[in-house]
Symmetry: C2
Subunit: 383 residues, 2 copies
Amino acid sequence: MIPPLDGITVLDLTHVLAGPFSSLTLGDLGAKIIKIERPGLGDDTRAFPPFAQGESAYFAALNAGKLSLALDLKNEADRSVFERLLARADVILENFRPGTMERLGYGWADLHARFPRLIYGAVSGFGHTGPEAGKPAYDMVVQARGGIMSITGQENGPPVRVGASIGDIAAGMYLIQGILAALFGRERSGLGAKVDIAMLDAQLAIQEHAIAITGTTGTPPGRTGARHPTITPFSTYRAKDGFFVIAAGNDAMFAKLCEVLGLRLDDDPRFATNAARCENHAMLKRLLEAVTLDNTVTHWTATLDAAGLPTARVQDMAQVLRDPQLLARHMVLPVAARNDGPAFLAAGNPIKMSTLPEVSGRAAAPALDGDRATILAWLEMDH
Amino acid sequence: MIPPLDGITVLDLTHVLAGPFSSLTLGDLGAKIIKIERPGLGDDTRAFPPFAQGESAYFAALNAGKLSLALDLKNEADRSVFERLLARADVILENFRPGTMERLGYGWADLHARFPRLIYGAVSGFGHTGPEAGKPAYDMVVQARGGIMSITGQENGPPVRVGASIGDIAAGMYLIQGILAALFGRERSGLGAKVDIAMLDAQLAIQEHAIAITGTTGTPPGRTGARHPTITPFSTYRAKDGFFVIAAGNDAMFAKLCEVLGLRLDDDPRFATNAARCENHAMLKRLLEAVTLDNTVTHWTATLDAAGLPTARVQDMAQVLRDPQLLARHMVLPVAARNDGPAFLAAGNPIKMSTLPEVSGRAAAPALDGDRATILAWLEMDH
């Protein structure tokens, strides 16, 4: 079983989240990831909480299994090492402000002329083109500007942030796609390509429904809490000890739900059709919760499950990390600590492939410059 | 300029969101997408609102530029056409309940034996392995079960759904990655691979921070509205006419912010350090909004921008679709309507590549079975 990216080398100059998230996946697919960090401090996330035994759990999860080399790209000796690495690498990743690599002499045009097979991946807030190319951004900035906050939150409440850093993560996902497409394209053309991903672009790309509604009706959708805007009942509901999902997508499922809850609502004209249920959704929610509040989430999810109705507990992350289906899928993995202390926890690789063996854990994230000797020895080897 | 997936053919049996979202991107990268639909009704989303001129804007956006062929995979004549397509295809995608393809005689094992170069991509709620393989899921179900709803919403409010269908979209993104990795791997091995993506797995994979916190402290994070949990001020704030982001990540930026707002808070011991600001975040928000409510979002974003402080308006989707940076990046594209009526709007391709020309619009989504003659003629051609 040969992993798809076996033999591929990635020089990863990125830091914080979007870039390291990308190279983690490229590593999962079999690539060797050489993390180039600035001497002294390295990746900012080495100092991000939470910590265990002096090591950042956040850094550990995002950089598991990578190699680290500290280089100052303004120093001549370090530039010489870097250029030997460029001659060996298949991919270079960076998330500096646009223009930074050009000032160092390592912009796409220079690199492509010297290393025509090298693939160049950049991720930035607003991209390398357009009137605002070069401006910095944070996850919060692109979540706000990209529109997802305007449709996330309670119906009459303020906009809220998506709890995960979807501004960075979505951009990182597109960077992976661009790099993989460029690797495949190079097999035929023999040439590398530049991939230019903007966090703001990625925010728009993940919002199919809101765009269709706004483009067609002229009116942007608002916030609806946990409720589906056009199907009822399709939301979270309160049980005695927490929240769970009821997702009854059609009249037959609603009738089955009424039977399960012991409520005779399905031939009530206020609730007989989906249109009527949407119209009267607030009253229907009060009626359903009048019953569901009487028992536990475990009771209701088991009952709905037995009736063939889609359901789920609104799990907190402690519950998620014990979820039997996720454990069976190797989606919760220990990450070795560098000092042999207790392992960190991280998400596993969600790309399950017949050519990729499942792993039962991840190797430790590197110490800053911790792989200098290994990498320099590798540069001496024949290839 | 040759697109990276030029010459690649994808047989797409998927419907609704996660699968069609994947094949749309594969099409953007240059692949030919043949959408196989059930005769009569086709993809469910052909009937999803909103509509314009009798066509679903949702379907149009997700299926732009694809070809459609209606086949009943239980009918012998149709199976024969399907098998001729399999012999020509590089990739097959499906999002049936696990086991469905096996019952049709087209499971991975059968297909791999007959078409060893064919790549098989599946996306399902819980994946093809584990105790709950085979159970159906909806976006809402995996958002709840995967934990993202537990960290999205107001501090003292109920969990809310991410406004975009991130349960489907994240899975679709990983399906694209798996297919691209398998295409590259096939260049060396000569063999296809099976890619098995679960919506639930993908939900865990996009939540780096919550896992690190829970794994290290034992306590799952809760909801914090729009506020960053460990940096202050880093949230949305009210202006006279809407919400905008202030993201002052360190003491120097906070001092600059105080200067801009005319507030002398930066040497107040309650706010002098990030730790103190986090401790007193509610009071600080009231003090900042006492000033920001006096002027407009446009005023404050321009003022902060001029001061070099990251900021953004919380844009609704109508504002997003007019955003100059997104327009300059070709991220808002017209999709042709089949009847020559006014175009739909959709997100452009966020994967900007030097080997991929920018397009100024997308071709129409196909009529059901609308490309039968073209596809049958293509099957007759030499290859």
